[in-house]
Amino acid sequence: MAQIKLSNLRHSYMPAPQGPEDYALKEIDVTWRDGGAYALLGPSGCGKSTLLNIISGLLTPSEGQILFDDRDVTTLPPDQRNIAQVFQFPVIYDTMTVGENLAFPLKNRGVDPATIKRRVDEIAEMLDVTDMLNTRASGLSPDNKQKISMGRGLVRDDVNAVMFDEPLTVIDPHLKWKLRSKLKELHQRVKATMIYVTHDQTEALTFADEVVVMQEGEVVQIGTPVELFERPQHTFVGHFIGSPGMNVLPCETKGDRAVFEGHEVVLEGPTHGDGGRTDLGIRPEYVGFGDTGIPAHVTKVSDIGRHYVVSAMVGNTALKAVTEHTVPEPGSQVFLQFKPEQSRVYRDGWIATEERAQ
């Protein structure tokens, strides 16, 4: 168990990187506390797997340091870092039984047989695979294989961190939630620091205490699932998290108000900064309908089960609203009301309004 600290980390796959665009990872500074459950969330190619491989030691970063409990491990190989990693596709040793698979990392480290047996039995019981211990691992279903590869990580009691690289990709949808809750349960039992890489927001938000959202090699926001939803620091976070994502509407600023398609919108607080491109960000959940407000033309209404998603046009800008009760007809004229404490201005993508004092 350890606290993991990444300090001024940068990585480029090129031998001589020139500008920031040559870096797969740009300037990462994070501290993950011991025993926490974290998720790295971002679209494909955002650098999250690179970051994971740097933490596990499969890659050495171009610049910066990785500290496990203040011990510099930047150049240590994976087997000396005491980390465990679960890959996208289950990795199991085909010729071994389930039990031998679980015992393998301990055997390689020269642990005595009695301890191996005790640990393997413990982990097998935790993963509900006790009855499979003596079967050949090659014949197992993907979800059980993935459990075994997880088990190989957990079997060592000196693991600093367990890392998951999109571990549910090959699992059937109906088994995904089962494995996910198993993971959550395991985290509570073993109390190891866990880092979970995914591009699926549901997986990230349900698993993690804290989510690190990445885009193009940069960390855009670190926060609890609620923080990411309620107050995105970047339009990318707003758009990437939530279904449908946050409305990002081109606007101008005027004092502590935004002017969007000629309509003044009250914001959560005063804006700061100057110049750049300004956008008004508001989640569809906080766009309401009323008798007065911003006139809009409804183009489409989709019933997605629990609620309706209303697509509307204000002037030449399209936006979405989510409603549960009052459903306007497509083609009708409505008035939209933006919730002021959830209306924010983003300057060049980054948040530019101050939180209103409570």
Binding site: S56, P78, Q85, F87, T95, P105
Partner: protein, 287 residues
């Protein structure tokens, strides 16, 4: 309701006819010869299983069979491990991959009799590059035309030179199909290079290795041209393998009956060994 329709068989007919003419009919002719005796004039007399008994009891056949097994065993013993080692040391990506692959494929593209002639000229004691080098530079007494041991070594080295590439290419195909995650997981699990080979690479190569061993067994067991061109079966009978002996009986002495019986025994042995080996190797997968 599922309706049965046998019309598809008509599509198989042309192939069946073709196979009948180039395999079944010649094969049956051999069976025919193997149970009869002829003194020319197209007159045949029933012989029963006599030829089979005579062949199986003959010292000549037993000696040739022994040499054949020894030869096949030796080349498998060398080519399979060597092929695995070469495949393991080949690069996985980059500029050298195609270069290595082409170099590996080259020996296999050379016709058998050319390989035989090449090695013959190469190893002749006085004029061949290797023969000259061994005798006159290193002072090793080497003469594959006179000494059985030299002849054996030459025949085996020639086959290794010609066919190890096949094992290499098949193993290489098996190796490159292993996802990176396996190697990464092994690193994290603290596996030694030997464990990586034993538990990841070897199991993943098992299928291609089975095929490689089968192909090398069948080819080497039926080998004819190369040793025939190189040593002609000599010195004496020391490198007379089964096929060379068979041709001597069939075309040299024109003993059609015994030759036919021998071919069938030869064929049965090849088939039996291949079948037993394949069954053993794939037994685990069926479980």
């Amino acid at each position: 309701m599922r309706t049965e329709n046998q019309k598809a068989w008509f599509f198989v007919l042309p192939v069946l006819a073709l196979v009948a003419f180039n395999a079944l009919v010649p094969m049956m002719t051999v069976v025919n010869y193997s149970v009869q005796e002829t003194f020319g004039n197209n007159q045949f007399f029933w012989e029963g299983l006599g030829w089979f008994e005579q062949i199986l009891r003959s010292d000549r056949f037993q000696a040739a069979l022994g040499r054949q097994f020894l030869f096949t065993f030796m080349i498998l013993l060398i080519e399979v491990p060597l092929g695995i080692i070469v495949a393991l040391s080949m690069p996985r990506k980059g500029f050298w991959v195609p270069v290595c692959l082409v170099l590996m494929a080259l020996p296999m593209l050379i016709p058998w009799n050319v390989v035989g002639s090449m090695w013959n000229i190469f190893t002749l004691p006085k004029i061949g590059l290797m023969g000259y080098f061994l005798n006159d530079v290193l002072g090793i007494n080497y003469d594959m035309t006179q000494q059985p041991l030299s002849a054996w070594i030459t025949v085996i080295v020639m086959d290794v030179w010609h066919w190890t590439s096949l094992v290499v290419l098949l193993c290489y195909a098996g190796l490159v199909s292993i996802p990176d995650a396996y190697y990464q997981a092994a690193k994290i699990d603290g596996a030694s290079p030997w464990s990586v080979f034993r538990y990841i690479q070897l199991p993943k190569m098992k299928t291609v290795l089975t095929i490689a061993v089968l192909l090398r067994f069948m080819d080497s067991f039926n080998i004819y041209t190369e040793p025939f061109v190189l040593t002609g079966g000599g010195p004496g009978n020391s490198t007379t393998l089964l096929s060379i002996d068979l041709v001597k009986i069939a075309l040299g002495q024109f003993d059609l009956g015994p030759a036919a019986a021998m071919s069938l025994i030869y064929f049965a042995i090849t088939l039996l060994v291949s079948w037993v080996f394949y069954t053993l190797m794939t037994k685990d997968d069926a479980q």
